[in-house]
Amino acid sequence: MRTKIKFSSIVGFLILIILVVPLLIVIITSFGEESAISFPIKGFTFDWYANVFQQPDFVEGLKMSSIVAVLASFLALLVGTPIVYVLTRFDIHHKDWFQTIFLSPALIPEIVIGFALYQALVISLQLPLFISLIVGHFLLCLPYVVRLITAGMMEFDESIEEAAWMVGYDKVSTFFKVVIPNIKQSVVAAFILSFITSFNNIPISLFLNGPDLNMLPTSILNYLENNYDPTVSAVSVILMIITASIMILAEKYLGLNKLT
């Protein structure tokens, strides 16, 4: 038994280091003075961070990515929550078919969704890119919402709702006064996970952005095609700070295990 534990401890510890070190290197390179990324760095500067905010693509991209992520997550919650309520509480035929349909965006490769939406919405229907982006990201978020809220509803005792009906509340007011306050954590978790997923997405945005409509991750991707300087490191660090802040918030209000 002892050798087994030792072996797995060594591997486990090494894996942790391998997970952390690349991100540390990125953080360190963001402070280097040389115009090409190098490690170890020479000198120390914050210039690349300043440079990030001088790149209109990055600044606009950050704004657009945030707006799209918020709207798409919100839309997914708005559409997804009633669906989950019906699927977990009503007695309907072919429940698992419906379940599969609402989880189907997760079955199809994201890049295929992006491509299909580009053809259908942008080319055929001539919809504005912004609307198409929202649609794509809404589809991306919906399965997360369905999965997390379903888990929340399953944990919530159905007779508590019935008790509210019995004392005089109709189903709609019971939903808002009793169900929502009790699945709040799942709703928040679904929103956070949707936001992160949408914010980080590349394959769908790839097809649905344009000259006036930049998403942050695709902007970085484009920037990397022509440049290789620590600006990318700096913007990466900013993204890591955003991730860390979201994690701290999630831990404070939900406990991180709600997110996995």
Partner: protein, 333 residues
């Protein structure tokens, strides 16, 4: 207050399984009626139909003469206590109790007055600012009862309210329910699978089996005169004697009903000579505190005999007697 008239209530699920079969029942004003039966007999379905939690397929339910079949659950003004307590987890005890009152057009002061009154008579006053998860099971069930009574319901419905409590609390809670029910003179329907708790507090008992009422009577009458084999077995009769056999033996018993079986309680079978005798051999003897139980192998199979006196030993050949007055005729179903 209210009386309830249920007629021809039927219910089946989509797969064609009949849950309730043309069931009729009337409950008097202020009565505590129990619905007793094994799981799957339809008792919970029946309660849920009365409460309005599930829609009526066939039949009618009248409360004080008014048909409520089409009245939605939230307008029925019934109180219900759930097996799982079902308290609102995000509200304090006080908020749990006033939640229903707030829906009614009452001013703040009246609501508070009513809530405090209910808290007082259920003995919960000192817990009113706690959250449900801070309470013990017994306390939670008390709150559940208080919440149901707070809206001043026409009818109180109890769905196995004691089954999640331990033995001691169960007795305490059932007394509490009985006390409040008497005090408020509340028409009450109590669903349970436990014969003892049901007999202890009910005015009448409806014993259900396979979607039908097998017997509707006072606890005493059901105990003394079970109508069918099912009822007899459910409330603890274990000895059954075919009528034709008894006739061949020229036993004396009342012949009033058509049916094939006689039954007798173990404590009513005598050991030694007497009327209606039968020979048997003692298979085993068990001392059970205030009585002895003899397992006796007879021509009729194994019979159980309870006596207060130690009268015989294992393997002994004994004579059993079956007094005419204790032999109960059972109807065929």
């Amino acid at each position: 207050m209210a009386n309830i008239e249920i007629s021809d209530l039927s219910m089946s699920y989509q797969k064609g399984k009949q849950i309730l079969d043309q069931l009729s029942l009337s409950i008097k004003d202020g009565e505590l009626l129990s619905i007793l039966g094994p799981s799957g007999c339809g008792k919970t379905t029946m309660l849920r139909l009365i409460s309005g939690l599930i829609p009526i397929q066939k039949g009618t339910i009248k409360v004080s003469g008014k048909d409520i079949s089409k009245v939605p659950v939230y307008k029925r003004n019934f109180g219900m206590v759930f097996q799982s307590y079902a308290l609102f987890p995000h509200m304090t005890i006080f908020q749990n109790i006033t939640f229903g009152l707030k829906r009614r057009k009452l001013d703040k002061k009246t609501i508070e007055q009513k809530a405090l009154n209910i808290l007082d008579i259920t003995g919960l006053s000192n817990l009113k600012d706690r959250m449900p998860h801070e309470l013990s099971g017994g306390q939670q069930q008390r709150v559940s009862l208080a919440r149901a009574l707070a809206i001043n319901p026409n009818v109180l419905l109890l769905d196995e309210p004691l089954s999640n409590l331990d033995a001691k609390l169960r007795i305490e809670m059932r007394e509490e329910i009985h006390r409040l029910q008497q005090k408020l003179n509340m028409t009450t329907i109590f669903v349970t699978h436990d014969q003892e708790e049901c007999f202890a507090i009910s005015d009448r008992v409806a014993l259900m089996n396979q979607g039908q009422i097998e017997q509707l009577d006072t606890p005493q009458n059901i105990y003394k005169n079970p109508r069918t084999e099912f009822v007899a077995r459910f409330i603890g009769y274990e000895n059954f004697i075919p009528k034709t056999w008894a006739e061949d033996q020229q036993w004396q018993f009342h012949k009033e009903i058509m049916g094939n079986l006689l039954t007798i309680r173990p404590e009513n079978i005598g050991i030694g000579a007497g009327e209606n005798t039968l020979l048997g051999k003692v298979v085993s003897k068990n001392f059970l505190g205030n009585y002895y139980q003899y397992i006796v192998d007879t021509e009729l199979g194994i019979l159980k005999v309870n006596t207060t006196k130690d009268q015989s030993e294992t393997n002994a050949e004994i004579t059993l007697n079956f007094p005419e007055s204790s032999l109960i005729e059972l109807e065929d179903k």
